[in-house]
Symmetry: C2
Subunit: 155 residues, 2 copies
DNA sequence: CAAGCACTTTACGTTAACGTAAACCTCGGC
DNA sequence: GCCGAGGTTTACGTTAACGTAAAGTGCTTG
């Protein structure tokens, strides 16, 4: 749940160091499994593929999702909850994948994007903090009023 | 910047206690002023009014925004940054205003909504925490690669 | 072998949150 | 008097992120 870095196959020439308990689970998923697992529709998953966020294999016509796909989906949905657009999410996720090629300009760009994301997240944290305070205040008032009402007869 | 609760006029029968330095600024704003102030377009502000989030006065045909309107706009935009829909924002903001009437069912509903918002915010905090960790990881990797590249010639 | 279930593609529909264009008023200043 | 900078209404256009319907494929199960 907390370990994301897997990169199972397709590693050209760099060995993975410090992998931890390396998940040897060679599981795959159907579209329906993933859909239920994350409480989205099949349509949504296909749409994400169309948008370049997922790239499942095919057994004939049927899509076969790997562990990596599952992680990607998880990250995508998390990004969505935070208000990022699919385009933004794709930009980061794909760069994450394209990293080992070590193109310098790409990496610089990636660091830029990460800095921006960081700033966005900071802003969101601040927003949440403020909004929590507001909610606290509203709730206090509501409870006060409720209490002052005591046991009246309406509802 | 941090104090929100003002409720200047239109308080029917309850005196405001603990008001602090009570902002006696009887300022009003034009639509353009607010727009620049919050870096949105006039259209956006009119749209928010149409959606019941703002209710400026009129001097003839021209809209006159009060301090309260400004606060509402601020809250609305904050809510937006957190991914709430205008409908959700309206529901809370309007109830906040309608509070003094002390309708029991309304208040209960309000407390429900607040609880939900709280849960959402908690989820977002968790998401942010996780995403920050991910970003940290990606950045570390990127910097590693950049470093290992040393001083090559591409770009 | 027929039914059913899960999967597929294609394609048009929908909603939220505005953008944008046209056509109009109105006010202070030169 | 008119002109530019603001304001206004009306209304159609746009984008993202899917929903939904139609029509077909492929397996396995009674």
């Amino acid at each position: 749940m907390t370990q994301t870095t897997s990169s199972p196959a397709s590693a050209p020439n760099s060995e993975a160091h410090r992998d931890g308990p390396l998940p040897r689970q060679r599981r795959t998923y159907s579209i329906g499994e993933l859909a239920k697992m994350f409480e989205v529709t099949n349509r949504t998953i296909r749409f994400y593929e169309q948008e370049g966020l997922l790239a499942p294999e095919r057994r004939g016509q049927t899509r076969i999702y790997s562990e990596k796909d599952r992680v990607r989906l998880k990250l995508t949905l998390r990004g969505k909850r935070l208000g990022f657009s699919l385009a933004e999410i794709r930009e980061v996720v794909m760069m994450y994948d394209a990293m080992p090629d070590g193109n310098r300009r790409q990496l610089k760009r990636l660091l830029e994007i990460l800095a921006n994301k960081r700033a966005d997240l900071e802003q969101q944290l601040e927003d949440i903090r403020l909004m929590q305070l507001d909610i606290d205040d509203v709730e206090r008032r509501a409870r006060d009023v409720l209490a002052s009402l005591g046991d009246e007869a309406n509802d």
